[in-house]
Amino acid sequence: MTKPESEWTWKELSVGNVILEPGNASQYRTGDWKTLKPVLNRELCVHCGVCYIFCPDMAYHLDEEGYFVADLFYCKGCGICAKECPTGAITMVLEEEEK
């Protein structure tokens, strides 16, 4: 998608509204749905990857230092990672508190 949906006119849409560009859902910012975001306490993290496995949006990835971190562009703030983390290393925090 080259521009947001709200800017498309009816004349620009493909016949049958077919999406011709495969995988363009990756450009869709689902991260702005959330109110709570996961915050990792690295001291408690045992690098088990349970957060990565359970994340329904595949928002987690392994960083260079070996920690699993959530990509906040996609993370919807569901909190499953925090619930499943065996050491309680993930806390869900109101986004605005971070400012």
């Binding site: 949906e5 849409l13 049958g16 509204n17 077919v18 495969p22």
Partner: protein, 390 residues
């Protein structure tokens, strides 16, 4: 001239589907559509037609199979009636929204309750707004011809809409009529293989049927609506090309003795042939009567309808279905079409022949008589069910 043979209209319809060289047929049996798909399954089973015949567990699945197959670029066919169409209805909107050129023959039958297997247009009217191109035909020849017209039209890249051919159940589907068959070579010339604009293929992944947020839904529907309305000149062009090949020319609105008539009957489907006999009788008796037949129901041909009717003093609109709580659906459309005109005919609406009750030429004459009296009296409601015992 093609070969003229006497055959059951359902068999003629199935033979046309075979001659159209379809790739996929998916249907579930329901009276009175059954003979069409039974014959097609025989043609596939005995090797006369190289197509996949999907036996499914419901009409919802039948049309879903057609949608999936059409999305891969297959020429697809389905056929249903009444309750079957109602079960299918969810997918009818999806087919047109995805702009897939599926063809459906709808052998029109009453929707229950009370349960009835006989003919009327209540099934067709239940999906009136589903976004398909919708024809109503009068006889077996027209069913046969419209299979080829419909595929060529549906698959045209400037059209890309599914098409329904409405044929009256039993009244057409189960009678034997003379049908002029077209040679295969001519058909192959008229109807080249389907070349899809977009198709599902693992080498070129695309998404069909994606979600649309409110921010883009209205744009998507506007595009679909403009495309459906714009198909009208293509429909006319396709009929013209078909006429040049066969000598049988079709129009969105057909008229009979209508030009100078004071009173016009307005019909859809097989009513047209019976009503034309009534018109002849009225003309013999010196009455100024004529007939207007709506062949193209969607997109509705507003201009052609106005041209055919604005010279008359009164229209007697015969519906074969009821829009519960309002009037006949054809009458609603006709009234809307003429509303903006300053000089327009008076309109009287009958619902007649529901659940297959016979409507004979003398019934049409009686309806004209009654309408003339009621219009004279200034009956504002202008609507009644014909022939109901009090």
């Amino acid at each position: 001239m093609g070969k003229r043979v006497g055959m059951e209209v359902s068999i003629a319809a199935a033979e046309a589907v075979k001659q159209a060289n379809v790739d996929v047929i998916s249907a579930y049996p329901i009276t009175p559509q059954t003979h069409i798909v039974e014959h097609l399954s025989e043609l596939v089973a005995n090797g006369e037609l190289d197509a996949e015949f999907f036996c499914v567990e419901s009409e919802h699945s039948a049309l879903s199979v057609c949608v999936g197959a059409a999305a891969t670029g297959a020429r697809t066919f389905t056929c249903t009636s009444s309750q079957g169409l109602v079960l299918m209805s969810e997918i009818t909107y999806i087919t047109s929204g995805l702009r897939l050129p599926v063809l459906m023959i709808l052998a029109n039958r009453t929707i229950s309750a009370p349960l009835s297997i006989w003919n009327d247009h209540s099934d067709a009217m239940s999906i009136r707004d589903c976004g398909w191109i919708q024809f109503f035909v009068e006889n077996g020849q027209e069913v046969y011809d419209h299979v080829f017209v419909s595929y060529r039209l549906a698959e045209d890249r400037e059209v890309l809409f599914p098409v329904i051919i409405n044929m009256d159940g039993f009244i057409l589907s189960h009678v034997i009529e003379p049908v002029e068959l077209i040679g295969q070579e001519k058909i192959d010339q008229f109807l080249p293989p389907y070349q899809p604009l977009h198709q599902l293929h693992p080498d070129h992944p695309i998404t069909m049927g994606a979600f649309a947020l409110p921010s883009i839904f209205a744009e998507a529907k506007k595009a679909q609506e403009v495309a459906l309305r714009s198909s009208l000149p293509k429909i006319i062009e396709t009929w013209k090309a078909f006429g040049e090949m066969t000598g049988r020319y079709y129009n969105p609105i057909e008229t009979y003795q209508a030009e100078d008539a004071d009173t016009l009957l307005v019909t859809m489907g097989s009513f047209g042939e019976t009503a034309s006999v009534a018109v002849d009788k009225m003309r013999e008796g010196g009455r100024s009567a004529g007939l207007v037949k709506i062949r193209l129901w969607r997109p509705f041909p507003f201009e052609a309808f106005k041209n055919a009717t604005l010279g008359a003093k009164r229209l007697v609109v015969i519906d074969r279905a009821i829009s519960a709580g309002a009037c006949g659906p054809v009458a609603s459309e006709v009234k809307a079409a003429l509303y903006g005109e300053t000089k327009k005919p008076s309109i009287y609406n009958f619902v007649a022949g529901i659940s297959g009750r016979d409507v004979t030429p003398s019934d049409f004459i009686k309806m004209v008589d009654k309408a003339e009296i009621e219009i004279e009296k200034g009956n504002q409601e202008g609507f009644e069910t014909y022939g109901v015992r009090e």
